[in-house]
Symmetry: C2
Subunit: 698 residues, 2 copies
């Protein structure tokens, strides 16, 4: 078997391309790529393969793949059914580097199709032939003119080379994303669809386009995440280059997952794990292709927000209100302008206008066409102004919109801060877009794009210095096979690996339990210890606050009777001091076959599943990152202390969870799940400690 | 003082209109209404008033209002400053019925302007002259051609009479809403802006347009809700006619409220109360003008959803996934098609296509242009199909879009069920709109419009039969002045008015406390009783589970010491049986100066303020309505019983809250607040009972 290279230049910049099933008709699938490549100036060699015609679209043809004068870098396979399989085999035999299999009827139609696809792919791999597809709409690179795609969308909206790369599992979505970007006037260089992904994946192509220095933003459409290592690598390349990756991952809901399964046979991903994976790797998520395009329009600006405070300028007071509401929903703040800015504004604005933010410049815009520019200049240096929204709900006759656009564009260039316009009137939108200023149809769209930019900026500048390079803890499991560890063994394992755990002893009988109680010198908890009993409290096998000989005696008798009635094996009783914390939190880990260990933390107690208030992250992460997530939970105010209660030791809990994340990472592939609930959190200074835990091996 | 009529025909259908400050230039504020009225066929008499010119725009002028040959129905006042005030006075003297004061510089610029406005309005009222404005963009009725508005928007997008009425406090927003509606091809009859609302309000005009039989939908833009009685009356007219009212109420967030205050001096409304008011009166809420227009496009269809299950049909599998996700977010379900439907689908679709919903008709659409129509026909009678989304992310060359549109339109007419299209390509959108089918740019927009229709339909068919006509309970307050009632008095008052309350006794000393304990025969709670101590537990003045003489003795001694240290007046101790429920819930009421009593209910306990999980409604409402709201709370699963726990007596709690809503209504204007927390909810069959309460008089 030949080694497979991760360099995919021959896909994006092939020196020569064969088209198997080449057609003279530019509207046929086998004709369109030829038509496109001639139109968009492909400079390499074209080898149309067609046994019936000497020429197609004025290009000489060859009758078979075998008859080609050289092994081309790339072959487009556009013949149906088993002919496609034969063509791929022929390409493999000739030494072609890659084949884009446009033909459908493979894994997407059922098990038989999948078997044919798998066999074809295996043979190709053996010959060192990479496959895109099958069932792919193809790849298009407007930087090189290599348009190995049959999408009709290039006929609907004229291509224009630009800074954007679009990579999609679905051909329809690749075309739609291209379309909505071009509709916004954004230039697109790459538009690639991977179809059934028998070999080359979206992640592979993401790495490939990131090697193109002209690419300044990468947009992905995914229905199933499998190739996480490659995607993580692409994300790291993107981070180093400062190129945002924004992804739509469809199939978020159960209904969506079902639809995806019947669309591409996509395997379900747990959506919270997907989200955690994206955040971990700094990939921004968008809801749908339209949002993707809205984000892209802002992100291709050479602008960076230094914070999340927005200045709103409008010629309508009502729009100031709507924009303020939308900023709030998006999690942005209304910047409080400095006195100097307000003073400068007062010299620019009419007497009646307010100099607060949002800035209502009123109908005065009709008599002074430079007012937008003057207002922007007046506040340009305000340290609170992280970004700007110009909201123009009404313009037209009497308004010099091209002047507004010119002023906004100059300001954006000068300040380096993000500027977005809200305008629904097409001529107004076009005037701003013509000057390179992003335009949104409503306040909500503008604010959410700006908020996405703030979020992405946070990803890019996340301080991971707290996480040690050797982040994974080397986890040593107790001897023995698979299955669940007892509570005692679970807590011991955590304790041995540096996680704070309540002191405890395993007692075989009443006497040793009494010894333990006397030794602790405080009321104790007494719990039956058995790996077979994950939910002890539901069976009355947990006794709290025992502080007399009699009470300990009674508890053991009663639990013994219960255990005998249930006929379960048990090791004895765990005796631990009853140490009340302020809040019950939790920490857990689930091993995901795609994402590996996925850590959950947040509010603990009995009702974690019924009313979850938790965050999900991929390990490892720092205590600081835990704090950022805790701030978004409903329990956050309670951790601060409300109604005269003291504050909890959140820092200690965050450190425990961060340490646990290193444990979780170290357990990769060996532990199925860890559930620490509760983690008691004491008063500030008292710390946090695991009280109960359950560990399941794979 | 002349009686003010609520009939505003002279505003919407005036027989004669004076224009004070009439201009020969159609681009001036005083010229544009004349230009519009001639253009749009106004049939009444026009009286331009201009002392300088014998004619404007070919119309004879009069030098003064006093010189007019008759008192016109309506005068448009378009002269600046104090001249406007004089003109209004002249109109009042002549007996004009209404004046639209376009002139600005009144309450919106400060206290001086407000004083002038108030004086002018007072004099007008005395003469029976109604005022729209000042600072109004004017009123426009394309049904009569009475375009008493200077908006430039009618020049930007050609007017077309239609079923929609737009009424807005802000002139800019009235124009924008008109614009986005017309951009979607929707005809607009009324476009009215009320400006400073010195007299005529948005609610007044809502009643007026609802008298127009051609109006089939009313859209409102509000920054402040004051005139709630008139709006409630308009809502009732709308309900009777089956006309939806959809409102944007801006100023939802704190930032938005601040912006609104500086825009129109709008008074803040508590947004949860606004929402409750809208729901109570069946007014649907939209986020912004764009959403308003999206809803309107669907609502003007003659279609009614019988449920919330949607069928998705697309030529892209990926769109099926995105649409399913969007349906889930919007709270809609994916309809499960009947076997008969699936069988019919299998005869229409290709072998490989799935016959499940969402229905991916694949690229087969390219070879069969009637496929959309055939698929719709196949599932038309499916009882699970409440509404339909056709999602077309890619069309163009090779697709017969006009056929799709024709088929969709016929289907929509035939079925009477809502049909919405998702298409971003302008020619595709236009083809469907031309046939009257609503079109959305993405799945989220389509699904949220459909969900809004389901919600509105629920408003219209809400079963209020459970609520008795004499819904308000006649509340009798104890004698005495204002301020807070003690816990005992609070609970007694509730109990006297039919609300279930825990038994309790006020005990003056240890002996009577012991008597009470012996009488209940169970452990008791002992709480200091004082109107001066609303938060007793924070001061250690609540003792739980006392079940010995000693314990009761100790508790009273200790509380007595605390009370003496705090130097507060107290009445003694409340002794009540400790009766544990399953869940702590709450119910409360706050008197709002605008909305009257506003009821809050949901999860109770100490942390209601810190982590609220409550619903807000205006009284009165039924137990069934309470249940609907409870289902949306986070605590809902816990009320059902999780982890082997029994279910709570939710029905009893819902009945208690419904009864409390009648009490709250009966307390209107006399109680400032009621806080019942906790309301204990027992096992199913055990009931629900108030345990602690605090009532504050106005």
């Amino acid at each position: 078997m030949t080694a497979i290279s991760s360099n995919l230049d021959f896909l994006l910049d092939p020196a020569s391309i064969a088209i198997v099933g080449a057609s003279d008709n530019p509207d046929k699938i086998g004709g369109r790529p030829i038509f496109y490549m001639r139109r968009h100036g492909y400079q390499g060699k074209l080898y149309p393969v067609n046994p019936q015609r000497p020429q197609v679209q004025g290009e000489k043809t060859w009758p078979t793949v075998a008859s080609l004068p050289e092994a081309p870098d790339l072959a487009i396979v556009a013949v149906p059914g088993m002919k496609a399989v034969e063509a791929v085999d022929d390409c493999a035999a000739l030494g072609v580097k890659a084949a884009i299999v446009i033909s459908a009827g493979f894994s997407e139609v059922g098990p038989e199709g999948r078997a044919v696809q798998d066999d074809m792919t295996r043979r190709a791999r053996q010959a060192g032939l990479r496959i895109v597809g099958p069932n792919s709409q193809g790849l298009a690179n407007f930087g090189t003119g290599a348009i190995a795609s049959f999408s009709t969308m290039f006929l609907e909206i004229e291509p224009q080379d630009g800074p954007v790369a679009v990579i999609s599992q679905s051909g329809g979505m690749s075309a739609m994303i291209y379309g909505v970007l071009r509709q916004r006037g954004i230039g697109v260089r790459h538009m690639h669809a991977t179809g059934n992904e028998a070999d080359v994946t979206v992640a592979d192509l993401a790495r490939a386009v990131l090697a193109d220095p002209e690419v300044r933003i990468v947009l992905l459409y995914l229905e199933s995440l499998q190739d996480t290592a490659a995607l993580a690598e692409a994300a790291e390349m993107a981070r180093q280059r400062g190129v945002p990756i924004i992804a739509v991952k469809a199939g978020r809901s159960e209904a969506g997952v079902r639809a995806a399964a019947s669309h591409t046979g996509a395997l379900a991903n747990e959506d919270r794990a997907v989200q955690a994976f994206f955040e971990h790797h700094g990939i921004l998520r968008a809801r749908d292709p339209q949002e993707l395009a809205r984000y892209a329009e802002l992100f291709i600006q050479d602008a960076h927000p230094s914070g999340s405070r927005v200045v709103i300028v409008s010629n309508s007071g009502a729009s100031c209100v709507l924009a303020s509401d939308a900023a709030d929903v998006a999690g942005l703040q209304i910047a409080s302008l400095a006195d100097t800015s307000q003073h400068r504004l007062s010299t620019v604005l009419s007497t009646f206008a307010t100099t607060n933010n949002p800035i209502d410049i009123t109908a005065a815009l009709l008599s002074n066409n430079r007012l937008f520019g003057e207002v922007l200049t007046a506040i340009e240096d305000d340290p609170a102004a992280d970004m700007f929204v110009l909201d123009i709900p009404v313009a037209g006759r009497g308004y010099d919109v091209p002047s507004f656009a010119q002023d906004a564009a100059s300001f954006a260039r000068r300040s380096g801060k993000p500027v977005a316009v809200v305008a629904w009137q097409e001529p107004v939108a076009q005037a701003f877009r013509a000057k390179g200023v992003p335009v949104y149809a409503d306040e909500q769209q503008a604010m959410s794009a700006l908020a996405a930019m703030v979020e992405h900026s946070r990803y890019m500048h996340a301080d991971s210095s707290e996480i040690k390079p050797d982040a994974a803890i080397d986890v040593t499991l107790p001897p023995g096979g698979s299955g669940t560890l007892s509570e005692l063994d679970s807590l011991s394992l955590l304790s041995e690996h540096g996680i704070s755990v309540i002191p405890q002893q395993l007692c075989k009988d009443v006497e040793s339990a009494l010894d333990a109680w006397r030794q602790y010198g405080v009321p104790v908890v007494l719990k039956a210890c058995s790996a077979a009993l994950p939910h002890k409290s539901e069976y009355g096998l947990v006794a709290l606050g025992l502080n007399t000989e009699q009470a300990i005696h009674d508890a053991i008798s009663s639990q013994k009777a219960t255990l005998e009635k249930m006929s379960v094996q048990y090791d004895g009783w765990i005796v631990a001091p009853l140490r009340k914390g302020l809040q019950e939190m939790m920490a857990g880990m689930n091993f995901d076959p795609i994402f590996g260990p996925v850590v959950v933390f947040g509010a603990g107690g009995k009702y974690v599943e019924a009313t979850p208030d938790v965050a999900v992250m991929l390990p490892p992460f720092s205590a600081g990152q835990v704090m950022d997530k805790l701030r978004q939970l409903r329990i956050w105010p309670l951790l601060q202390g409300v109604r005269g209660e003291p504050a909890a030791d959140i820092q200690a809990y965050a450190e425990l969870v961060a340490e646990f994340s290193r444990f979780a990472l170290g357990s990769n592939g060996r532990l199925k799940s860890v559930d620490i609930n509760p983690v008691m959190v004491g008063h500030r200074g008292e710390g946090a400690w695991a009280v109960d835990a359950l560990i399941e091996r794979i």
